[in-house]
């Protein structure tokens, strides 16, 4: 990335005593689709509103195409926003909603009609143009909101949980449609969501946000395979997590004491330090013959969830931990009477993080 299309540097925002964003940096490339993923209250929506110009940052700069927008009000930024509840104008028709931004800029009438027609066709709503927005379904309203934001040819598109009001089935097909549309148009987009699956479906890169900071910014697969923090491990994808203490250090490896017994992991930690050991569920096997490159623990099965080809096995991982193994449905043996089974995974798949202070 030679020059970032959207460049956020050192942005902070506080409400009274509460710091919502703390000197945050984010660079988004041209045509890139970035998700801001995090729990509610992590500052993702605040960041979006700062970029849109609907809030003023306490410090830091926000630039698009190298042009500093920090001091500009929202209506001079030319950044499209799709709001969570769509915020469609209730007294205007579908076509009038889409035309609004063009008329506000004084675009000639004939040109407005042409662009509205073309933009509605993009979201497959051409025949809905004269309807009131109340005649539309939730999914159609969302597409009007997207069309309205795209009609002004924004330099950047911001989306604030645009799928949260839609039911699951519709959501999945619309996610794919919207991603394809924005890719075709080459629009740079920043997308706020608390739904990890949505973030994985939609994004080129995901910014995992927690407590006003970006914990990891990477492609979905990278975050899944190599989460940078315990929070990223926990928030994106399923995971088995064990609380542990470093028992001994051996070069690049550490021996960890857990409630389920001793395991080995990679990383540099001091002896006696509290850590969190994590494993992705599909890396875990059951009743595999022991091998020196595998960690193996005996744990009691709590529940089994059948998911078609897969089987999720929930096991007791001790206080503050969580045990999930994802097996092929055929691989689950009969449970013994006491429910205790041998779970194992490769040492290389063991992720070790400093223990987080409880939130």
């Amino acid at each position: 990335m030679t020059q970032a299309h959207l460049d956020i540097r050192g942005v902070s925002k506080a409400y009274g005593e509460t710091t919502v964003l703390d000197r945050l940096d984010l660079a988004v490339g041209r045509g890139e689709f970035i998700s801001l993923l995090g729990p509610s209250g992590c500052g993702k929506t605040t960041l979006l509103r700062l970029v849109a110009g609907l809030l003023n940052a306490d410090s830091g700069t926000i630039a698009v195409d190298g042009k500093d927008l920090t001091a500009l009000p929202a209506h001079k930024r030319n950044i499209g926003v799709v709001f969570q509840n769509y915020a469609l104008f209730p007294h205007l028709t579908v076509a009038e909603n889409v035309a609004f931004g063009l008329e506000a800029k004084g675009t000639p009438k004939g040109e407005v009609a042409e662009i509205v027609k073309r933009t509605l066709a993009l979201v497959k709503l051409a025949e809905m143009a004269p309807r009131t927005i109340f005649a539309l379904s939730g999914g159609q309203q969302q597409r009007v909101a997207v069309a309205r934001a795209l009609a002004i040819r924004p330099s950047l598109l911001l989306l604030d949980e645009p799928f949260s009001a839609l039911d699951r089935k519709l959501r999945e097909s619309m996610q794919i449609d919207l991603r394809r549309l924005l890719r075709e148009l080459g629009i740079t987009a920043v997308f706020v969501t608390h739904d990890q699956e949505e973030a994985m479906v939609m994004s080129d890169r995901i910014a995992v946000m927690n407590r006003g900071a970006i914990e990891q910014l990477a492609a979905p697969k990278t975050i899944y395979d190599k989460p940078a923090t315990a929070f990223a491990l926990e928030f994106l994808g399923g995971s088995t997590r064990l609380r542990a203490t470093v028992a001994s250090v051996d070069g690049d490896y550490v021996q960890l004491d857990t409630k389920l017994g001793q395991i080995t992991g990679k990383g540099h930690f001091l002896r006696g330090v509290d850590v969190l050991a994590g494993v992705r569920p599909e890396k875990i096997a059951v009743n595999r013959p022991p091998s020196p490159d595998r960690n193996s623990v005996a744990a009691r099965v709590v529940d089994r969830v059948f998911l078609g080809s897969k089987l999720m096995v929930i096991f007791d991982a001790g206080p503050g931990g969580q045990g999930v193994a994802e097996l092929n449905a055929a691989d689950m043996p009969e449970l013994p009477a006491d429910g205790v089974v041998e779970f194992s995974w490769q040492i290389a798949d063991t992720l070790v993080f400093p223990a987080e202070a409880p939130a």
């Binding site: 609907l54 929202a74 499209g80 104008f89 007294h91 609004f100 931004g101 506000a104």
Partner: protein, 279 residues
């Protein structure tokens, strides 16, 4: 259908006492009034209406009434519209104080308020003292017993009836609509005129209907602020009954007043239906 009626029935009974009371205390006397205006010793006749509309004095009373009501409505709208937004956008204590300031004066009778306006507007009243002090005028201006004084006094008393309906509509307008307008490139004025102002119209229509119907039928306020020599429909009605002892004239004027009031209500409900269905 039958199931639906059974479900609604018990609720409908709840309205019976109030309906019966209104039929007895409102519809019946009104009906008698109407009868009195068209029924004389000679039987049914519209003579009193013909006589009323043939008299230039009546026309002056009618136009005075409409003119004063129009001006009062205009003043309350100009003053009240921004107040409704201040109420809707303020939070916490400020909002409570503004609401109290708007509603508390309603608990003071119109007589008391009209009398206080007399004190404020008279030759040695606060307004004249202030204008003399600023040097804008050399000698006291006559406010009391003028149309200006009446409009100012009535507008003050009816202001809450303009503010509250507008406030109740404005506070329900999603603030994100203005934000959406801004992100689409609309400056604050353009965005306000095309979005918020239009969405506030149902409240404006209701406020206008309230204040206009209160203004055409006010009696105590003009009696105290403009006096006998300037007659409005309501004061003429009172005068016909109380002083002239002309019940036919009184009921005729009252019915004309009622027709104007009904017209205002019908036009405003038509307009607000139109505004609602336009959404």
């Amino acid at each position: 259908m039958i199931a639906a009626m059974r479900r609604i029935d018990p609720l409908a009974w709840l309205a019976v006492p109030a309906t019966a009371y209104l039929a007895f205390a409102f519809a019946l006397p009104l009906g008698l009034l109407l009868v009195k205006s068209v029924w004389t010793a000679d039987g049914f006749t519209l003579a009193s209406y013909v006589k009323f509309f043939a008299d230039p004095f009546s026309w002056r009373v009618l136009t005075n009434t409409l003119k004063i009501a129009f001006l009062v409505t205009l003043v309350t709208l100009l003053l009240g519209y921004p107040v409704a937004f201040a109420l809707a956008m303020s939070r916490g204590w400020l909002q409570v104080m503004l609401l109290v300031a708007m509603i508390l004066p309603l608990s003071i009778g119109a007589v008391v308020k009209a009398f206080s306006w007399q004190i404020v507007l008279r030759r040695d009243g606060v307004v004249n003292r202030f204008l003399e002090w600023t040097g804008l005028i050399d000698e006291p201006v006559r406010f009391l017993f003028t149309e200006t004084g009446l409009v100012l006094g009535a507008a003050n008393i009816f202001l809450p009836f303009m503010v509250l309906p507008i406030y109740s509509v404005v506070r329900l307008i999603d603030p994100r609509l203005s934000e959406a307008a801004a992100t689409l490139g609309a400056g604050p004025v353009y965005g306000f005129l095309r979005i918020t102002a239009i969405l506030s119209l149902p409240g404006v229509v209701a406020g206008i209907a309230f204040v206009f119907s209160l203004s055409i039928s006010m009696y105590v306020i003009p009696s105290l602020l403009i006096g006998d020599r300037y007659q409005l429909l309501a004061t003429l009605t009172g005068r016909s009954f109380l002083f002239l002892r002309n019940e036919t004239l009184g009921s005729t004027v009252a019915v004309i007043l009622l027709i104007i009031a009904i017209a205002v209500v019908m036009v405003s409900s038509y307009l607000s239906n139109r505004l609602r269905s336009a959404r």
